[in-house]
């Protein structure tokens, strides 16, 4: 206790808000413990981690590690935009028998989250941690002598940059890009099987409220469960029995049923504790902890191209405080492992067509005119999130002349809207700004995508809603604000 009193910014009378990230003075004595925990239940469909009552606060950057077992010689990798998170179809955080936070179709939600990771972070950090590797570079494709229309330093196109130069024929011509060797899963030998990459997922990505709050586990008498549901091994959205968990290089086996490697599924659990009596002091000062956080609800609609040409989609959110609405369209055609993204996409309309959107709630439209300028909708998303989506113009929208290179990554043309990146990052996010609780009619999304190619599509809409959590006498409660 004496030690604490001597610190200028700490006193027995004023313990800062320890659950709020950023509120803690840097001079506060803090200790970090790491435990590696196995799942209490595991099968190829789901896994559960259970945290018994433990000391300290749950660190938001705790991670779950995941890997698959390579089964064939096929060069396989995770979708480049979300990496290992493609293995997770849904994630739920439960305390006692209460669901604190649950996200369905998590891989799609995570593709939205991943838009806002800077390209530098993707290249220098995430491709090692999670295999997310969307980063860009000008493609200096003047690979032959100064022929017509190819002046010095010509870089007509933009392409992916994972830190590996393309393979270019000695005589010049198109280059072919590949992922770094350690990113690949294949069963060429016992060595490559043993070396299959293990990646991790942040808890704060699975449960976004943990970016702002850290759970005081030492104040909870109930068990905390993390439930993961794995993506099915195969999907039939495009064709029967296509691998859903991995992508493969062009022309390779698309039907491998990749298995999650149970030996590598771990929770790396970091807990934070503080000096001396600070923890007890905090507990005694906060008999009842109350904090606000966000949870997400998915509204999903599937139909053919005509269903989305003039859609008025009821989203729910009745009686709730909705702080954000984010949505994207997925094309069944993209659900093939022979690609860079394996269906975890946000499909744009064709180049000469338009997408216009609006939001109706409490009998008022969010925008006085439907927004359809793609650059303005890009900004609308930026404004809602407070961060810039780090994607190129041609990844966000289908343009007349794509600046994405036609040169291949793992055999897939990077500019392709079917197997590459072209026009597959068209997420839109709107932050309702009227400051009103949604009435009992709920929210409606106006979504008009003209000229979609004939196929089946799914529109996924996530509503970010405010919830309130209380911790009192070791019991956790939560309810919608």
């Amino acid at each position: 206790m004496t030690d604490i009193v001597e610190k200028a910014d700490v006193s027995p009378d004023s313990i800062p808000d320890l659950i709020k990230i950023g509120a803690i003075p840097s001079s506060y004595g803090q200790m970090l413990h790491t435990d590696v925990i196995d799942p209490v239940t595991f099968n190829q469909n789901r896994a559960r981690f259970t945290l018994q009552r433990v000391a300290g606060f749950l660190h938001s950057d705790s991670k779950i590690t995941l890997a698959v077992t390579p089964l064939t010689v096929t060069r396989a990798y995770y979708p480049l935009n979300i990496g290992i998170s493609n293995l997770i179809q849904s994630a739920a955080l439960r305390i006692g028998n209460k669901t604190v936070c649950e996200i369905d179709d998590y891989q799609h939600f995570h593709s939205y989250q991943s838009l806002f990771v800077s390209n530098e972070d993707n290249k220098e950090r995430e491709q090692y941690l999670s295999q997310r590797c969307i980063s860009h570079q000008p493609i200096y494709d003047d690979r032959t002598a100064n022929t017509t229309d190819k002046p010095p330093n010509s870089a007509k196109k933009v392409g992916l940059d994972v830190g590996r130069n393309p393979v270019v024929p000695a005589a010049g011509g198109a280059g072919t890009f590949q992922l770094l060797p350690w990113m690949l899963n294949n069963a060429d030998s016992a060595q490559t099987i043993a070396d299959a990459p293990v990646y991790s997922v942040y808890l704060s990505d699975l449960f976004p409220f943990l970016k702002f709050n850290q759970l005081p586990m030492f104040m909870l008498d109930e068990e905390v469960h993390i439930d993961l549901t794995f993506t099915p091994e195969v999907t039939s959205l495009k064709e029967a029995n296509l691998s859903a968990r991995m992508c493969v290089a062009n022309g390779l086996n698309t039907g491998v049923r990749y298995q999650v490697n149970e030996n590598e599924v771990k929770l790396i659990y970091d807990s934070i504790t503080y000096d001396g009596d600070v923890m007890e002091q905090y507990r005694s000062q906060n008999k009842k902890v109350v904090f606000q956080y966000s949870d997400y609800r998915l509204a999903k609609r599937t139909g053919n191209e005509a269903a989305f040409s003039d859609l008025f989609f009821q989203l729910g959110g009745n009686g709730r405080l909705v702080t954000k609405v984010l949505f994207a369209l997925q094309n069944n055609e993209n659900f093939t492992p022979e690609s860079l993204l394996n269906g975890v996409t946000a499909k744009d309309v064709p180049a000469a067509e338009s997408l216009s959107v609006n939001l109706l709630y409490n009998d008022l439209y969010e925008f006085n005119v439907d927004r359809k300028n793609p650059a303005l909708l890009f900004h609308t998303t930026q404004h809602a999130e407070g961060k810039v989506p780090m994607v190129t113009r041609d990844e966000y929208q289908t343009t007349g002349v794509s600046a994405l290179t036609t040169e291949t990554m793992e055999g897939h043309a990077q500019n392709s809207g079917a197997v590459g990146l072209g026009g597959l990052f068209r997420w839109t996010s709107i932050a309702p700004n009227k400051g009103q609780r949604v009435n009992n009619k709920g929210m409606d999304l106006v979504y008009k995508a003209t000229g979609l190619a004939a196929n089946n599509y799914t529109l996924r809409v996530y509503l970010e809603m405010l919830k309130v959590a209380t911790i009192e006498d070791g019991r956790f409660e939560c309810y919608f604000a």
Partner: protein, 438 residues
């Protein structure tokens, strides 16, 4: 929940019935009025949205291709910002000027590459501002686009970046955008203009979008501060290059200069947004000469005394002892710091590739300035007076000077655009309008 807000989408007052606006067709000025209303304007949220079309014929029916008007180029580091020549914010009723930035394109041609990294120009700036990381990428994707290119850009200025809100019920706002001439917006890839003489750019579906809070009580009078940009223009023609001005500004935070040969300005044959080192005159066919006129020494003066540094900055280049091609780190550092203090500077495309001496003012030579990789030349000189962004230095009654020793020994005129960043205070009154105190 937060304060109740709503979005406004306002079209310019003077758009013709076609809805299409271009300098070439006699619409050089756009005015958007955010009239008196019960709302508090979030100045950060102001954006100009629209579509950009590039036409190669006077009728506005044909786009450039690799076979027709193939020489047509534009500034890839500016994108659609190349179309803005001046930006003015006024009181909508009294027409009193709150901020007026001249040579806006020249300002942005230094500001954008200094402030944006490669991932920005390859990524999100392409979507919003049509900015690309290479001159060829911009030509193929925007100049030769077979349909319109949509854009949505903020209007960086002291008012929109510095102050936060403006009560429209007390100070209605006019935003005036002066468009740049086509001869400035475009340039030719080989200095010939015969095939591109009729080319012009055209804006359509224009609107200003912004966000206002309503139901907020506001006083009848108030003041707000922001860092404004004031521009000056000088011409350099000799080895002893001197720029002198009485700025009349009391809180100067920094100053920077970018250079371009005077013959490039409003010249369809050449890139008027070039920001490279001073260069000598190229030969008639543009294949020879045009070498760098190196900045060898530079000092900034206040009332004739060196200030803030009491010494000259000497370039790494020396005409007799060190004819190096490498970038000049000390001069570039001063230039970057004058735009943004070093501690805040995290992203940039200024680097050895874009600030070295390998290139010339020749259009057709393989060392020509247009072949500078990535975002093109990012050169300038500058001085930071106040790294804390506090009260700056008083130049209200003091002379501002820059003295440079350069290699300009052939009488080739070089235009120097001087931009001063200074703190200004705007006092506003519901009945009296606004008064700018600089």
């Amino acid at each position: 929940m937060s304060v109740a807000k709503k979005y406004l989408s306002v079209q310019p007052n003077n758009v013709p019935s076609t809805g299409k606006v271009s300098f070439a067709r006699g619409n050089p000025i756009l005015t958007v009025t955010l009239g008196r209303q019960d709302g508090v304007l979030d100045l950060n949220s102001i954006r100009l949205n629209g579509d950009l079309n590039i036409w190669r014929d006077a009728a506005g029916t044909l786009h450039p291709t690799d076979a027709a008007a193939s020489e047509l180029m534009g500034s890839h580091k500016l994108g659609v910002y190349g179309a803005i020549d001046q930006l003015v914010f006024r009181h909508a009723e009294t027409k009193q000027v709150i901020e007026h930035i001249r040579h806006y394109g020249r300002f942005m041609s230094s500001y954008l590459p200094v402030m944006a990294g490669m991932q920005d120009v390859a990524g999100h700036l392409g979507e919003t501002a049509l900015i690309y990381p290479n001159y060829q990428a911009y030509r193929d994707s925007v100049i030769r686009n077979t349909r319109e290119s949509s854009f949505s850009i903020p209007l960086p200025s002291g008012l929109t970046l510095g102050s936060s809100v403006l009560p429209l019920s007390k100070v209605p706002l006019d935003i005036e955008i002066h468009l740049a001439p086509d001869t400035q917006f475009f340039y030719s890839s080989d200095a010939t203009t015969a095939n591109i003489a009729n080319a012009f750019y055209e804006l359509s579906n224009l609107e200003v979008s912004c966000e206002v809070s309503y139901g907020v009580e506001t006083p009848d009078q108030g003041v707000f501060n922001f860092n404004s940009i004031t521009s000056y223009f000088a011409t350099l023609e000799s080895t002893n290059s001197i720029i002198n001005y009485n700025l009349g500004l009391s809180k100067v935070l920094g100053a920077f200069v970018n250079f371009v040969p005077s013959s490039f300005i409003n010249n369809l044959a050449q890139d008027g947004f070039l920001t490279y080192m001073p260069t000598k005159k190229p030969n008639a066919v543009g294949t020879g000469d045009g070498g760098i006129a190196n900045v060898e020494k530079i000092s900034f003066l206040r009332n004739g005394e060196r200030f803030p540094s009491a010494f000259e900055v000497e370039s790494v280049y020396h005409p007799s002892t060190n004819q190096t091609y490498v970038a000049d780190s000390q001069i570039i550092k001063g230039f970057l710091s004058s735009i943004i203090p070093e501690k805040h500077h995290t992203r940039t495309t200024a680097g050895p590739l874009t600030t070295n001496r390998n290139f010339t003012g020749n259009q057709n030579a393989t060392t020509g300035y247009r072949y500078i990789p990535e975002t093109g030349g990012v050169y300038g000189v500058g001085v930071l007076y106040d790294m804390l962004d506090s009260e700056g230095v008083d130049f209200s009654n003091a002379q501002f000077s820059i003295q440079m020793t350069t290699g300009l020994d052939d009488g080739h005129p070089i235009s120097a655009y001087l931009f001063i960043k200074s703190k200004v205070v705007v006092a506003w009154d519901a009945n009296m309008g606004v008064q700018v105190i600089s």
